[in-house]
């Protein structure tokens, strides 16, 4: 790794100030993307700002009819939370499938969203549930927040503090894992809320999470896997690599969407 200074602010404001005034500073949450990247010398932040001692960033609670998850909530906490399991079990299920048990003790929802890896799981949930990403400066909707491969709308001194999830009567996440990395080769999150049905796909797209509006319209009429009969997703724009061709990913989207609807109805 290249050299860096390390700081541990006690508040979001202190962290934001440090970010604003230090050139090449980076926030570190669970560190399980950032530390490996730094070990490979692919990133050389001059300063790491550790959020793990900032109070109040890891709460998980219901606020009105939204499930609010603090940015520093670890995947293991979300997966095991009785509040999440009672109100939005699909989210607990998603969190339980990230990485492995030790990784889940460190990885955070804020880190996952800020990084916007095209094969990460949380972006699919945020997009499918139309969650609100709350930062120290503003509130962002998924369409504004996700801007492309490893790119978000976050300003250099902006810090995600929490994510507000609307509840869904029916929701499920089905993940087809890359057997080696355990990232999503394709992951589909389906959510039925009073206002709409959303189908969000991760892992397959070159630019990150996207919605399959064709599927959404069909499912809005009838929320049943049969509604997807005959519907396919085009392969262009999808990732093609040694783990799977674009055509295979397009096929998997259909398969996983059907399974997700079945699971959501169960």
């Amino acid at each position: 790794m290249y050299e860096f200074k390390f700081s541990r602010p006690a508040t979001v404001r202190q962290a934001a100030n440090l970010l604003a005034k230090t050139e090449d500073a980076k926030l570190i949450a669970g560190g399980h993307t950032l530390v490996p990247v730094m070990k490979q010398r692919l990133a050389r932040p001059a300063q790491l700002i550790d959020l793990s001692k900032v109070e109040g960033l890891d709460t998980i609670e219901m606020k009105g009819r939204s499930l609010v998850i603090g940015a520093m909530a670890r995947h293991a906490s979300v997966a095991a939370s009785e509040v999440v399991k009672a109100n939005l079990p699909a989210l607990a299920s998603l969190a339980s499938m990230i990485g492995d048990p030790a990784v889940r003790h460190m990885g955070t929802i804020g880190g996952s969203l800020a990084n916007n890896d095209p094969t990460a799981d949380y972006p699919a949930a945020v997009m499918a549930l139309d969650a609100t990403i709350v930062t120290n400066k503003r509130k962002l909707k998924p369409e504004e927040f996700f801007q492309g491969l490893f790119t978000t709308a976050l300003a250099p001194d902006e810090i995600i503090t929490r994510v507000q999830f609307p509840l869904a009567k029916k929701a499920a996440y089905i993940k087809f894992r890359n057997q080696a990395s355990r990232y999503a080769l394709v992951g589909v999150f389906v959510a039925k809320r009073p206002s709409e049905v959303r189908v969000a796909v991760t892992g397959a797209g070159g630019d990150g999470v996207f919605r399959v509006t064709q599927f959404e319209e069909a499912l809005k009429k009838r929320f049943n896997p049969k509604s997807l009969d005959g519907l396919t997703v085009p392969a262009d724009g999808l990732n093609s690599d040694l783990h799977g061709s674009a055509e295979y990913r397009a096929h998997l989207i259909g398969v996983l969407a059907r399974r997700a609807v079945e699971a959501a109805n169960a």
């Binding site: 050299e3 390390f6 530390v35 048990p101 030790a102 003790h105 460190m106």
Partner: protein, 159 residues
């Protein structure tokens, strides 16, 4: 340089270290606790698993500065030198749960964490799923799974 104070197996260690020092390096090189191993160095194989504040963590992907003020348990901390083995260690011995032994400390630390989270009655499917983050090149995992099931039961007796 950064000042850190880490409690390891019950003893407080203070040091002035380069912030780049990984927790696994601090344990092995500064504290000479070489039971924790560096396998892949890329957070996949689990040979480096230790407990930080009671949770299994990959120490090759954790900076020591991030464990400042924390309570760390390594494989050496499961049983004092010369004392009887921890029930999970004993289970690995009795069930031939290792061959070369390189993955074993990580397997045992993961197993103890698993019991802490999921209790003493673990079925094979659960154990195999929970071992996703631990790789073994020698055994084919079969006896590791047996060892963990036995060790989990044995841990309830000594609770």
């Amino acid at each position: 340089m950064a000042k850190v104070s880490v409690t390891v197996n019950g003893t407080v260690h203070s040091a002035n270290i380069d912030p780049r020092t990984l927790l696994v390096q601090f344990l092995r090189e500064n504290l000479r606790l070489t039971g924790t191993h560096v396998g892949c160095d890329t957070s996949q194989c689990g040979a480096c698993v230790v407990h930080v504040n009671g949770k299994a963590v990959k120490s090759c992907t954790t900076l020591t500065v991030m464990a400042d003020g924390a309570d760390v348990l390594t494989i050496e901390g499961l049983a004092a030198d010369g004392a009887p083995l921890h029930p999970m260690q004993e289970a690995f011995r009795a069930n031939h749960g290792l061959q070369c032994g390189f993955c074993t400390p990580g397997m045992i630390m993961t197993a103890v964490d698993l019991v802490n989270r999921k209790g003493n009655d673990l079925d094979d499917h659960t154990i195999r799923e929970e071992l996703e983050g631990n790789l073994c090149r020698c055994t084919g995992y079969h006896n590791i799974v047996k060892s963990i099931a036995a060790g989990a039961k044995a841990m309830s007796k000594s609770a």
